[in-house]
């Protein structure tokens, strides 16, 4: 309607090893929006992201990118995996890695043009990676590597950036930095963001919409709409309370309830 739909997930179900991992999941990501895919570990976030990338077979449902089927998505999806394991001896600089984001799909061996090289320099600057642009990718710290991966994904100018648990292995300060970075870079380059995490609090300041995933089912909407006791209780299948405290959200299960599905940071038992 008002904003264009970049990603449309409708009634998606995925089965794996006899288990239904995703069950009738539907949500939408619109242009320029920052969406958080929240759920505890093992609940199916990575499966969902892989399905969107066309790497996972669907049992039911449909996924459309920019209104067209997945097979025609071209290069409109950028992907940042959680981590890339690299030898420190690998002869590739951060600069080279980001440049590959531009032309890894090209055949041949041609030298890059000045415009292309300037683009890489600019991209590295945008993610605050100038300092280590000439360092080997294998020698970067977790946070540094993250920025390089983001630059690599963004340089081909996708309409949607997908990130798989980028915050999982970072210390709290780096988490804040990366979230701020992502928000800034996404709005500068007019890219929508779909980012999975098992803890929503770090994202509350920047999230436009949330997709809350548990038991294979999802609820989507704005944080006000979704992060409410009624909605989440229906999702979990048992009663949960949602407490808002000092700008942070706590999802709390009743004592005696199986609370293994609730993200760790947010679990208390109330005595």
């Amino acid at each position: 309607m008002s904003a264009t739909s970049i990603l449309n997930v409708e009634g998606v179900s995925v089965t794996f090893a006899g288990r239904r991992i995703l069950d009738d999941v539907s949500f939408e990501v619109r242009q320029g929006e920052f969406t958080g895919l929240i759920g505890s570990n093992g609940v199916g976030k990575t499966t969902l992201l892989r399905a969107i990338l066309g790497l996972q077979r669907l049992v039911a449902g449909e996924i459309r990118v920019n209104g067209a089927p997945l097979t025609q998505r071209g290069r409109s999806l950028g992907y940042v995996p959680q981590k890339v394991l690299l030898d420190p001896d690998v002869p590739m600089r951060a600069w080279d890695f980001v440049a590959l984001g531009l032309d890894a799909h090209r055949y041949g061996f041609s030298r890059r043009t000045k415009e292309q090289r300037d683009l890489v320099d600019q991209m590295l600057h945008d993610v605050d990676a100038d300092r280590f642009a000439n360092a080997r990718v294998g020698s970067l710290s977790g946070g540094e590597q993250q920025r390089v991966l983001i630059a690599h994904a963004l340089i081909s100018q996708p309409t949607l950036l997908l990130l798989d648990e980028p915050l999982a292995n970072l210390d709290p300060r780096s988490v804040q930095e990366i979230v701020a970075l992502l928000h800034r870079v996404a709005s500068e380059h007019q890219v929508a963001v779909l980012l999975s995490a098992h803890e929503m609090n770090a994202l509350l300041p920047v999230m436009d919409r949330i997709v809350y995933l548990t038991n294979g089912r999802a609820a989507s909407g704005t944080t006000e709409e979704v992060v409410r006791s009624e909605v989440l209780s229906a999702l979990y299948g048992h009663h949960v309370d949602v407490l808002k405290l000092h700008g942070r959200v706590l999802v709390v299960a009743e004592p005696g309830q199986e609370d293994r599905d609730i993200p760790q940071h947010e679990t208390f038992t109330v005595t």
Partner: protein
């Protein structure tokens, strides 16, 4: 050492070095040392078999290398353990030994196929070898960037629709081609060293892929030429010099890298978060 039949030897060894340097660069990048170790053993059996039935050894080398490459590729994709690959590798060697036992030139043949021979490639095979070399180089040049990304970050490559499995198969075929033409000169047991040593050293000297690739070729060339020259004057086997020089280059590379690391000031290291 530059007369008559040796011209061929210099020519072939130049091609061998270039191929080993280029293919080896990606072998090291992809961590495929085990495959580089195993596939030449298949080549050994193929050459021995071809000699036995009087067929051009290149054909035997090629067919068996390709078979070994593709089956090893399939086996490792299915996540099978190293055991079956190791046993298959040894089986190929035993098979080669069996083939050779049926010919009259038992001893010399084993030696030259396993440890290399300057004149391992005859004049008649010069053209096919050069063509095979060109095919290898062209394939790598065309797939260069895809090879880079799928080697380093296959997940990301898959998300971009680059199909890492297909690139893997293509690269295995390239290794098979490379093995076919390099084994007669350097030997089945030692070609692995030539494919690993120069690239492993090269990457210590440069942090840019294109430069490291070029260095890998240069180091391989120097190694092979020096080995050829030494082998010609001493009559000692080419493979011995290849092994020794590769190890030396590798040690030099590691020493240089260690020296570079110690030179970087602690403040510089600490400034980056």
């Amino acid at each position: 050492m530059f007369s008559g039949f040796m011209v061929n030897a210099w020519l072939i060894s130049t091609v061998v070095a270039i191929i080993a340097g280029v293919v080896g660069f990606f072998v090291v990048l992809r961590g495929s040392s085990f495959q580089a170790h195993a596939i030449p053993n298949g080549a050994f059996a193929g050459a021995a078999g071809a000699n036995l039935i009087g067929v051009n050894p290149l054909i035997g080398l090629g067919v068996f290398s390709l078979g070994a490459a593709l089956s090893i590729g399939r086996l490792s994709r299915r996540g099978r353990s190293d055991v079956v690959t190791a046993l298959a590798l040894v089986m190929m060697l035993a098979l080669g030994a069996a083939f050779i036992s049926q010919s009259t030139q038992y001893e010399p043949q084993i030696f030259s196929l396993l440890f290399g021979e300057i004149l391992g490639v005859s004049t008649g095979q010069l053209l096919p070898v050069v063509i095979l070399g060109l095919v290898c180089i062209t394939a790598v040049a065309v797939l260069y960037r895809r090879l880079l990304l799928t080697s380093i970050a296959p997940e990301i490559a898959a998300s971009q629709g680059l199909r890492p499995e297909r690139i893997e198969t293509a690269f295995l075929i390239v290794i098979a081609c490379a093995t076919t033409m390099t084994v007669p000169v350097v030997g089945a047991l030692l070609i692995f060293t030539l494919m690993i040593g120069p690239p492993a050293a090269a990457r210590c000297f440069s942090n840019r892929p294109e430069v490291a690739l070029a260095l890998s070729v240069v180091i391989a060339l120097v190694t092979v030429w020096a080995s050829l020259a030494c082998s010609f004057s001493t009559n000692w086997p080419v493979g011995f010099f290849v092994g020794a020089f590769s190890a030396t280059w590798f040690a030099l590379g590691m020493a240089y890298a260690a020296w570079r690391r110690s030179r970087r000031s602690p403040r510089e290291l600490g400034a980056r978060t």
